[in-house]
Amino acid sequence: MSDFLRDYLTVGIFGLTGVALVGLLLGLGSLLRPTRPQPQKYINYESGVDPVGTGWGQSNVRYYIFALLFVMFDVEAVFIFPFATRVDAYGWFGLIEMGIFIVVLALGLLYAWKKKVLRWV
């Protein structure tokens, strides 16, 4: 067997162990616990608020601008990490360059703030 497959064998054994463990616990539980079925027990939240509407209802879009802003600024960070690993090699040129980059990003945030995008509606 090749090394490649042996590595995957570990994964397979791990997966099988997991499945067996869960099956064992659930099986033991069903053997031990008393069974007294009631209709109350079959609704989604036995002791919570009953769900309203269908599962495909639309949620509020007020979060989406925050999500968009997060995606943008989060991804821009990908440029900072490679720079950070070699700060000393790039010297002052790199530091100033990255400073400009971050200032531009901050400018975008400033614009979003001033346009009242960050306010909770």
Binding site: M1, S2, L5, L68, M72, V75, V78, F79, P82
Partner: protein, 105 residues
């Protein structure tokens, strides 16, 4: 135990081309603007995989730096595209690409 071919870089190229094709076909057959948009993302990610594979085959690091740029460009496209699509969906809830027929002729 099991006879299996060694996974060569070509496999990744084939995988990437299959994913790219799924994205392209998906964009053409699906009608929800959001799903069409997700298909574009699929296509871009397939290209990224192609770049990394070629980078590995050629032993050249430039192909990997491309990934960072593609990642950021894709994020910018997501933000702008979702903004436009949400603006449209607010005016026309449940709009599909077939409903966008005000402009035709």
């Amino acid at each position: 135990m099991i006879a299996i071919a060694q996974v060569t870089p070509v496999w990744y190229l084939v995988l990437a081309s299959v994913v790219f094709a799924i994205g392209a076909v998906g964009l053409l057959v699906r009608r929800n603007p959001l799903v069409m948009f997700m298909c574009v993302e699929l296509m871009l990610n397939a290209v990224t995989l192609t770049f990394v594979t070629f980078s590995r085959m050629l032993n050249d690091v430039n192909g990997q730096t491309v990934v960072v740029f593609v990642l950021v460009v894709a994020a910018a496209e997501v933000v702008v595209g979702l903004g436009i699509i949400v603006a449209l969906l607010r005016k026309q809830p449940s709009a599909t690409a077939d409903d966008l027929t005000v402009l035709k002729g």
